[in-house]
């Protein structure tokens, strides 16, 4: 063991500087991939609305820690088709980068149930996302009403961006101020009633965590 360690060190110091950096980078990515595969990640099928919002609040790293992300081709098409934009949105840059690193996978459902087809618009990406989640027994990550309503009705695990923010706060991954800031970023994009209800829940979690006395 010691022999290998010294062998590793001698290789490292004998390399030219740029090769040494390359070597360390490769080693880091191997360790990262092995470490990631050891963690019990859950399968999640991501929809376009969720992907845009989770990038907006900058929580993709936390998302990758918890979920194995899968997109359907339909959702990928929706995201990558930018008709009138003169710039590439940040979520697309992140998407392409993660796809190159094989941290995002593309899969499509084998079949879609009639019930699902009849409940949502046939051509929408949400239909494919939910159908794949049913097939793979994964969670649906979506920020859109119709898809969420279908999932609640059919007891499919569904999570949206604000749920993810609040859970991250509950698990001490985010501070109260960070969570509040991220909810406020999403405020203009989500209907007011839902935002206010979640701000109440954030305060409630804070109260449960620190007790009323400390909260005051």
């Amino acid at each position: 063991m010691l022999f290998f360690f010294f062998l590793f060190l001698s290789i490292l110091f004998n390399l030219k500087e740029y090769k040494r950096i390359q070597f360390i980078n490769t080693l880091y990515s191997i360790i990262f991939m092995v470490f990631n595969s050891k963690i019990n990640k859950k399968i999640a099928i991501v929809d376009s609305s969720f992907w845009i919002n989770i990038n907006r609040v900058g929580l993709v790293d936390y998302l990758l820690e918890r979920f194995e992300l899968i997109f359907t081709s339909k959702v990928e098409d929706e995201l990558l088709v930018n008709f009138k934009l003169f710039y590439t949105p940040r979520d697309i840059i992140v998407y392409n980068k993660l796809k190159d690193m094989d941290l995002i996978k593309i899969r499509n459902p084998k079949n879609v149930s009639d019930n699902l087809y009849n409940s949502l618009c046939k051509t929408s990406g949400e239909v494919q996302t939910i159908a794949l989640a049913i097939e793979l027994n994964g969670a649906v990550l979506v920020d859109n009403s119709a898809a969420i309503e279908y999932c609640i009705k059919n007891k499919i695990q569904v999570i949206n961006t604000i749920n993810f923010i609040l859970y991250s706060y509950d698990q001490d991954k985010l501070t109260y101020e960070q969570s509040l800031e991220k909810i406020n970023i999403l405020k203009p994009f989500i209907r007011d009633k839902y935002i206010y209800q979640n701000l109440d829940l954030l305060a409630q979690i804070k109260g449960d965590k620190y007790g009323i006395k400390k909260d005051k």
């Binding site: 008709f83 618009c121 859109n144 009403s145 569904v158 609040l166 203009p188 209800q197 829940l201």
Partner: protein, 125 residues
Amino acid sequence: MVLKKTNNLNYNAKNKVNTLRLNDSATESIYLIAKEENKTRSDVIRMLLDKSIKEYKLKKALDLYQRGEIDFSTGAQIADISVHDFMEELRISGVGLQIPLEMTEYGFNNMVKLFGGNPIKLKKK
């Protein structure tokens, strides 16, 4: 959906001849705009129609989305814009993503089911 193109109609880039009757006020306005913009009257009519069609599609998409008749990506399809643009339009119009209120508890408790923690029950005010 009413606004979707159907395959049996041959939509192509070539302009088709359409005849329409306009009242005096519209005719005069078009003449003045054409003079102001240094364009032909046909160009002005095409430009105004394009703009109005886009506005109509967007308004229709936002309206249908707000009423819960279509989902987010279908809204973008109807408005003929990207999902990013449609989300921006939802913000500008003040409609916002329509997420049901029961999702607050349901979604949070789904995270708890998957990764552990204490389920939450929203206290009523």
